[in-house]
Each structure stands twice: as structure tokens, then as C-alpha cells.
């Protein structure tokens, strides 16, 4: 089965931030790698890809072997190559940094290896699957955590059925990643490799619910009955919005960040409302930075990131902020959003107050003019993850994160494992993959009877 997207999507207008290497460029970069012993870049990769080994294989033009080294540690090695914040992961720990020289471009090399091996039709990039065991695992949510887990379960001989409420698999890796990093179509191509595994089945358009009330639904309890194990990877839900006191703005001009990004990536019919001249993005995290950066690249003349604390306190990465700034995004620090300014049904802007330590200072309210507002103040985690409670014994912590044993990713329900954003509260794709690895190892041990728990 092929997942196809209509063309005409706004994301197609974005140029690649880090263009693919040509073969000659990749070999030249690969030859720079020192082939460190016990390399610090490996330790910095959450999935512990053997980086010097895969890089040396590029240098020797053993590209299939290189891709195999990558995929054996990380089945989503292609996406990760393109979306990982390498500056704070592997590349950030390359020994060249301390030497005052440009570090090895590990992400670009990783992309080259996997992409080239695929394009050349290299075979056996995934190991040969073990014989079918007859065991079945249900995976809830088709984000990267589940996609990675499904692939590894299938390779271990277990049937993996993935339930996804949306129309497309891939979660935020398909519909959330900034288009200058990777487009949805590329994410779907990678999923195709997993979907082609004989024991993997995606059931998109099926939501896991408490009680079935119509088509496209399946009850959590029935998964527990029908399957030998359940892997919960439901992410952290939709956008959090400003409270009721902020009032309401016109729906097409006041949007939640992930919902808006999803539309520019996946909805070929979506266009920005007419005459957007001055946009405001509320927030200081990576999603806010992405949304602001994307608005600029889409041609909005003025884009302001309005953040209630100072630059140094932003949770978004410094390298993302400087890239966004380079493209013209302006940061407005220490402004707390109060309410939408609407006149005769038309958006005038955002009422803000000067903020101290993130709190509005009385008497400083002013209008920040804007004709488009993106709210990027977080995802609706605490409410969203309540779904996990449908599986008896599964617990949430105070921040709404699913509680697991970090060594096994097993929850309080002996049949249920969990991973990805719903466990760590929202990190990166590569963390979701590592969670999947840990969980699958334990699921396999349990299903194969290696240990009894």
C-alpha cells in the first residue's frame, strides 16, 4: 500500500535547509572523520548508532553496509538523519568541536547512506525476519515510536498491528516536521519500508476509544483481549490554547501551531488567509520557532515571536533561533499574551503586557498589532494522555506522562508497554525510536518466555 499526498501542499515551496550530499561530497566529508575509538558521537546518539563505522563504510563506498549499520541501531535512521537536532546530539559531541574545527556532518552523511542505499535498490538493509511466532501486538498511534516498534516486532517474528486515528501514519514525524528539514512525502516513503514487512499492518483512520460508538473506532479493552501485548504511543495531543479570558479570534487567523503546521504539510487545499502582513507566534519552544520560521519562508513580511520570558530562558534550541533570525524572524522577549484584539469580527492583534519572570506587570498592557496569530504554548498533554488510563493499571505522573520502568518501558499493566512523547513529555523522534527499542526487547523477552514477569 502506498501513502500518497496530493501535490500543491504549501510545504512543497520550502527549499531544503541541509541539501543532500552528492557522492563526492559525502566521501570527502566521510574521509574527514577520525574514526575515534569509543567515539563520543556514539554516546551522544540516543539510539547509539555506530557512527564511525557507518562513516568509514561511506568512505570505502560500501553504502549498503553503511545503511545496514545505521538501520540496525535505528530503523528510522533516515528520518533521524534529517530531523535530529544534531547540533545538540552527535555532531555537538564530535571531537572536532573542541579542536576548533567544523564537526563532521553526521546527519548529512547518515541521510546519504540510507537514501543512496534505497535508491540503488540495496537488498537486506533490514535483517531477515525471524519465523512468525504467532504472537500479536497492538500498537496505539502510528507516530515514530510505534513505527519503529512495529518494524522491530515484525523482524522478531511477531505480528504488529498499528492503530492510527488519523488518515496517515507517522505522527508528528509526517505532519509536524518543519518542511525545510523534511517533507511529509519523504517521511511516508520511509514508512513504506516498514509497511512492506510481512508482519506489519497499519490500520489508519481507526481511533482507540473507551466505548465504540461508530465506524473507525476500536475499544481499548478489546485490544487487551485480542492481543498478546499492547504498545501505547499516543503522543501528547493537540495544541494548548490561551485561556477563556483571552477571548476568541477569527478561526482562520488564530490557529494552534501543530494544527497549522499539519495543514501546510498535509492539506493541498490549504492557503494562508489573504493579506497576512504581520504575524505573531506566541511561545518560546521549538514548535514556536518552527512556526515562525515557516511563516517567514512562506513570505509573510513581518513575523514576531512573542515570548513571556527572556531569550536565555527559551526552551527552543539556540541553533534554531539563530537560523530563524537569519531568515528574518524577530524575537520579542518578556511579553505576556493577554487577549486577542478583535474589532468588528476582524483581528487587530494581540493584547500583551510587559512581563517580569514570565508574569504580566500590572499597567503595562498594550496592543501588539497582528493579522495572524499562531499559538505555540505547548500541547494538550495532560488531557490527551488520559486515554492511557483506559488500560487498567497504567499510571500517569503529575505532568500527565505515562509511567514506565525505564529499563523495560513496561507500564503498570503487565500487558502494556509505552514510549515516545507520551512517556517523556515531548522530545525528539530519535528518543521515540530508542524507547521503541527498549520496549520491543522486553516485549520479545516476555512473549518468547525468556523471563516471566
Amino acid at each position: 500500500m502506498k501513502y500518497r499526498l496530493d501535490s500543491g501542499r504549501l510545504e512543497e515551496r520550502f527549499a531544503e535547509w541541509k541539501p543532500a550530499y552528492t557522492k563526492a561530497e559525502a566521501i570527502a566529508e566521510a574521509n574527514r572523520c577520525l574514526y575515534c575509538s569509543d567515539a563520543p558521537c556514539i554516546t551522544a546518539c540516543p539510539t547509539h548508532i555506530d557512527i564511525p563505522t557507518f562513516i568509514k563504510k561511506i568512505a570505502s563506498e560500501n553504502v549498503a553496509g553503511s545503511a545496514r549499520t545505521i538501520l540496525s541501531a535505528n530503523v528510522l535512521g533516515y528520518s533521524c538523519a534529517r530531523v535530529c537536532p544534531v547540533e545538540v546530539l552527535c555532531v555537538g559531541k564530535c571531537v572536532y568541536n573542541q579542536w576548533g574545527r567544523a564537526p563532521i556532518q553526521i546527519g548529512k552523511l547518515q541521510r546519504f547512506a540510507v537514501e543512496t542505499a534505497w535508491n540503488e535498490g540495496a537488498r537486506g538493509l533490514f535483517p531477515k525476519p525471524l519465523p512468525a511466532t504467532g504472537k500479536k501486538v497492538a500498537l496505539v498511534g502510528a507516530g515514530p515510536a510505534s513505527v519503529a516498534a512495529a518494524a522491530q516486532l515484525a523482524l522478531a517474528g511477531h505480528k504488529a498491528v498499528v492503530y492510527e486515528k488519523g488518515a496517515l501514519p507517522g505522527g508528528l514525524n509526517t505532519l509536524g516536521i518543519a518542511p525545510y528539514k523534511m517533507q511529509a512525502s519523504d517521511a511516508l516513503d520511509e514508512i513504506e519500508w516498514v509497511a512492506d514487512l510481512e508482519l506489519v499492518e497499519f490500520r489508519c483512520g481507526v481511533e482507540v476509544v473507551e466505548r465504540v460508538s461508530g465506524d473507525g473506532q476500536v475499544a481499548a479493552s478489546s485490544l487487551l483481549e485480542e492481543y498478546d501485548a499492547v504498545f501505547l504511543a499516543i503522543g501528547i495531543g493537540g495544541d494548548a490554547m490561551l485561556g477563556a479570558s483571552a477571548g476568541a479570534g477569527p478561526a482562520e487567523r488564530v490557529v494552534g501551531a501543530t494544527e497549522w503546521i499539519e495543514r501546510i504539510k498535509g492539506d493541498a487545499a490549504y492557503r494562508l488567509p489573504s493579506n497576512v502582513e504581520r504575524a505573531v507566534v506566541i511561545g518560546g519552544g521549538n514548535t514556536a520557532l518552527d512556526a515562525a520560521h515557516e511563516l517567514r519562508v512562506l513570505g509573510v513580511p513581518e513575523v514576531y515571536l512573542v515570548y513571556r520570558r527572556s531569550e536565555t530562558e527559551m526552551s527552543g534550541y539556540a541553533h534554531e533561533l539563530s537560523a530563524a533570525r537569519k531568515d528574518g524572524v524577530k524575537l520579542v522577549e518578556n511579553r505576556a499574551p493577554l487577549s486577542y484584539a478583535v474589532e468588528n469580527g476582524e483581528l487587530r492583534g494581540l493584547n500583551v503586557a510587559h512581563a517580569s519572570a514570565g508574569r504580566p506587570v500590572e499597567g503595562t498592557a498594550e496592543l501588539f498589532p497582528a493579522d495572524f496569530i499562531v499559538v505555540a504554548i505547548g500541547q494538550d498533554r495532560a488531557r490527551h494522555t488520559q486515554l492511557a488510563r483506559l488500560f487498567p493499571g497504567v499510571e500517569l505522573d503529575a505532568k500527565g506522562r505515562v509511567v514506565v520502568d525505564p529499563a523495560t518501558h513496561r507500564t503498570g499493566n503487565r500487558k502494556v508497554w509505552s514510549g515516545g512523547d507520551c512517556v517523556n513529555g515531548g522530545k525528539e523522534v530519535v528518543n521515540a525510536v530508542e524507547h521503541a527499542k527498549i520496549a520491543v526487547r522486553d516485549i520479545c523477552n516476555t512473549l518468547n518466555g525468556a523471563h516471566h514477569g
Binding site: 570527502a28 577520525l34 575515534c36 575509538s37 563520543p40 568512505a59 573542541q98 579542536w99
Partner: protein, 460 residues
């Protein structure tokens, strides 16, 4: 500024930098541009009876991102008519009377040698160089290295040439021989005034694995060629050193093989050359490289307080010794500069797998060290305290250290370390006097315990 001019067999050259007989000296316009750029002399592309060349002709060894570490070619001697070459040589000598023009020659019969020597000298050439070195194509026809590999033949042809020639005769030697002193002494016995070496080394650069043809492919086949470029410098230095230090040799030498910089040139000169010849480096970067060679050599001589190139000639020859004459009591030990280290641990893995397991990682317990493959543990006083981070920000736990008791001073770690100067090999004063293996042989105790019983105790 030091005086770079030299005297080679009575011929004056503005500097010791000559172009070797090769494509850069193929024609008059080229040699004139080279002289304008600063080259002191040029050995014309070998003259002889015209030949035909194939296409393609060259192949190279790349190492990592370095292009053309070594070059090989399957070209023959000049493919231009003799008349054209001779006319252009005459022109060059007329326009550049102070530069050294050397005619390189390769023919077969005695009559041919006689005629080509006469006609070359008519151009005004200052020197002749007999090409007894080309290792491909020509040797299959009984010329080039077929002569160089056969001392008797070499001596005979040399004596013909010396008989016919008015100007000094240089014999260009091939490295494709098991003992270079044989052809070297044969050249001397034949009356040669000088030698030049090395010509290229017989080689096959590699195989095109798609076409299953060696490089460089000529249709569906290829042939062995001649290897040159930076990669051959060590071989060239050794062969030249064999001659320059030989007590019975004593002829001037023009050193060739991998010379690319003034430093390479200075090394050849220090080991006994009077001039050097350059081919590959010019094929790679052009005549312009000579500017730095001239400036660099002259700066170097000034720094060392030498007024002329002549003072440098042979300065290192006497320290090229036989192994048996080396000091067995000299010892160096590796030292890691913790502030320069970038924590790549290449020294560690090299010493573990390729040397003597004496580089350790900080913070390991004795059990961990043994499990990792160490067979001896450092004494507590040899375990340094590493900082949490060095000034570069490298975690101290990644900065290896050397156990000075076990280090044999092989140099390997200092050779693999990517940071220049980070690992130094420090000489240790062991307090023992000089003692060589030959001293031990002379004393009659040249036996190291642990060998074959019959060697140690021949009476049994």
C-alpha cells in the same frame, strides 16, 4: 639571503631546482615559461626515435581526501619529431643562457648514441642525461630500465657516451633493481660524471572493478607503469642514500622522487644530492610552486646559518647508518599533552592493537583495564590526575595516558594522533653509555635469551 646557485659537474645553475624529464619539459614554450617562473634547469623530455603513445596514460593513488599521493604513467619518451625538439632546445638556450639545459637521451645502437649526442650538443645543452630508467614500454624493447637493471650493459653504453660527449654525462638510474649500488658503481666505472635517481617504480596503481581492467585503462586492457609522486619519496631517499654514503661512489647526484616542496628538496640535498628534479608536483600544481621552493630553501639556509646550498649537501649522510650501529641504550617515551588532546583515543586503540598496550584510559579499575586487554597495569605514581575537562572542554576521562615503564618508544601513537605536537616522544636519560649491536657482536655477547636452544648453546 643564502646563495642558492650551485655547481654541478662544472655547470653553474642559478638554483638547485630542475624540472625532470617529463611532460613539463615537453616543449620549448613550456620550458621557457618554467625558466621565467624561476626553475634553474630543465631536463628535456627524453629524445630518441619517435614513438606513439596510448590514451589514457596516467592513474593515481588518492589517500583520504588527498589527491595524487602517487602517480603512475604508461607514457613513453617524446612523441614529437626530433627536429622540432632540437630546434626548440636551441631557442631556449639562446634566450636563457644562464639556465641549465639538459638533454635526456634514449636510443639503442652505438651509432644512434653517437648521432643523438652530437645533435643534442649542437643545441647548446649543458649536460646530457642518459635515460636508463624508464620501466615500461621502452624496456620491452631493450632500452630504459632494461639497461639500468643490467650493470654490464649500463657500463658499456655509458662509456660510449662519455667517449662521444663534449659535455658532462649524467646517468639516470632505475629503482627497479635489488641493489642500487651495482648500477651506481657501473655508471662510475663507465666514466659517468654524475647520476640522477630515481626514475619511476614499476607499478600497477589499481584495478577498475567494474571493467576488470587495471588503471589506467586503455580500452579493455592496461599495462604496468612507472610510479612517482609524494608516495615514492621515501624509496627515492633510501636509494639515493645508498649511493651517497657509499665510500667508493663519490659522484655528484641529482635527487629525484616525490620532491614537492623546499623541505623535500632540503632533505634530498642533506642526504647527498646537489640538485633535485621535480615532475609530479609540477604536473599537479604547475611551475609556480618553484617560488616557494626558492624562498623556503633560502630562508631555511639563513636560519641554519648556511651561506650556500653547498654547505647543506650531505649534512645528514653520515647519520644514515646500518641498524647494527644504532645505540641500543637510547630510549624515548611517549608523552601526551593533556591540554592539546581532543579525546579521539586513536592513540589508545593504536597502542592496544598495534603496539604494546601501554596507553591507558583514566578512571578504569584494574579489572576493567585487564578486561579491555591490558596485560600490565601502571604503577600508581604513573597514573595522572586528569581534570574534569581540559581547556578545550574535552572530558578528562577521555584523555589517555602513557605507562612510561611499558612504553617501548615505537612512535606509533605520536604518528596516529591527529593533533600536531600533542604526543611527543621524550628522550629519557637512562644513564647507560652508547652500545650498538655490532659492539655486542665484537664483544661476543650478541645473544638475546629466549631463542632457539641450538643458537644459544651451539655445543648441544
Amino acid at each position: 639571503m643564502a646563495d642558492l646557485s650551485i655547481d654541478f659537474c662544472g655547470v653553474k645553475s642559478p638554483n638547485p631546482f630542475w624540472l625532470a624529464s617529463a611532460p613539463p619539459t615537453n616543449s620549448g614554450p613550456q620550458v621557457m615559461r618554467a625558466f621565467e617562473a624561476g626553475w634553474g634547469g630543465a631536463v628535456w623530455k627524453t629524445l630518441g626515435n619517435p614513438i606513439v603513445n596510448v590514451s589514457s596514460r596516467y592513474a593515481a593513488v588518492d589517500y583520504g581526501n588527498t589527491r595524487m599521493m602517487g602517480l603512475n604513467n604508461i607514457e613513453l619518451i617524446t612523441d614529437r619529431p626530433l627536429e622540432d625538439n632540437l630546434r626548440e632546445m636551441t631557442e631556449v638556450k639562446k634566450r636563457f643562457p644562464k639556465h641549465v639545459l639538459i638533454a635526456s637521451l634514449m636510443v639503442e645502437t652505438k651509432e644512434e648514441w653517437k648521432e643523438i649526442i652530437r645533435r643534442s650538443e649542437d643545441t647548446g645543452a649543458d649536460l646530457l642525461e642518459l635515460n636508463f630508467g624508464c620501466p615500461h614500454g621502452m624496456c620491452e624493447r631493450g632500452m630504459g630500465s632494461a639497461v639500468g637493471e643490467e650493470p654490464k650493459v649500463l657500463q658499456e653504453i655509458t662509456s660510449w657516451a662519455v667517449e662521444y660527449a663534449q659535455v658532462p654525462v649524467i646517468i639516470k638510474l632505475t629503482p627497479n633493481t635489488s641493489d642500487i649500488t651495482e648500477p651506481g658503481l657501473a655508471a662510475r666505472a663507465g666514466g659517468a660524471h654524475a647520476v640522477s635517481l630515481i626514475n619511476t617504480i614499476k607499478s600497477i596503481i589499481g584495478i577498475d572493478l567494474d571493467r576488470m581492467v587495471p588503471y589506467p585503462p586503455v580500452g579493455d586492457g592496461s599495462s604496468n607503469g612507472g610510479y612517482c609522486g609524494p608516495a615514492v619519496k621515501p624509496i627515492a631517499l633510501h636509494l639515493m642514500g645508498q649511493l651517497s654514503r657509499h665510500p667508493e661512489f663519490g659522484l655528484p647526484i641529482s635527487g629525484i622522487g616525490g620532491v614537492s616542496t623546499w623541505r623535500d628538496a632540503a632533505e634530498f640535498i642533506a642526504l647527498g644530492a646537489t640538485t633535485v628534479q621535480v615532475c609530479t608536483a609540477v604536473m599537479h600544481y604547475g611551475y609556480r610552486i618553484v617560488e616557494d621552493m626558492i624562498e623556503g630553501l633560502s630562508e631555511f639556509l639563513d636560519r641554519k646559518g648556511m651561506a650556500t646550498v653547498g654547505e647543506l649537501v650531505g649534512r645528514a649522510t653520515s647519520s644514515y647508518k646500518d641498524w647494527g650501529d644504532l645505540d641500543l641504550n637510547y630510549k624515548v617515551i611517549a608523552e601526551i599533552d593533556q591540554e592539546a588532546c581532543i579525546g579521539c583515543q586513536l592513540c589508545y586503540v593504536a597502542c592496544m592493537d598495534g603496539a604494546h598496550q601501554c596507553i591507558h584510559l583514566p578512571g578504569r579499575s584494574a579489572e576493567e583495564a585487564l578486561a579491555a586487554g591490558h596485560i600490565h597495569l601502571p604503577k600508581p605514581e604513573h597514573v595522572p590526575t586528569r581534570p574534569t575537562e581540559n581547556r578545550k572542554g574535552v572530558p578528562g576521562s577521555r584523555i589517555p595516558y602513557v605507562d612510561p615503564v611499558e612504553c617501548v618508544g615505537c612512535n606509533l601513537c605520536s604518528l596516529v594522533c591527529p593533533v600536531p605536537g600533542c604526543i611527543t616522544m621524550a628522550a629519557e636519560d637512562g644513564g647507560k653509555p652508547f652500545e650498538s649491536w655490532n659492539d655486542r657482536v665484537a664483544r661476543g655477547d650478541a645473544i638475546v635469551p629466549g631463542g632457539l636452544a641450538c643458537t644459544i648453546n651451539p655445543s648441544k
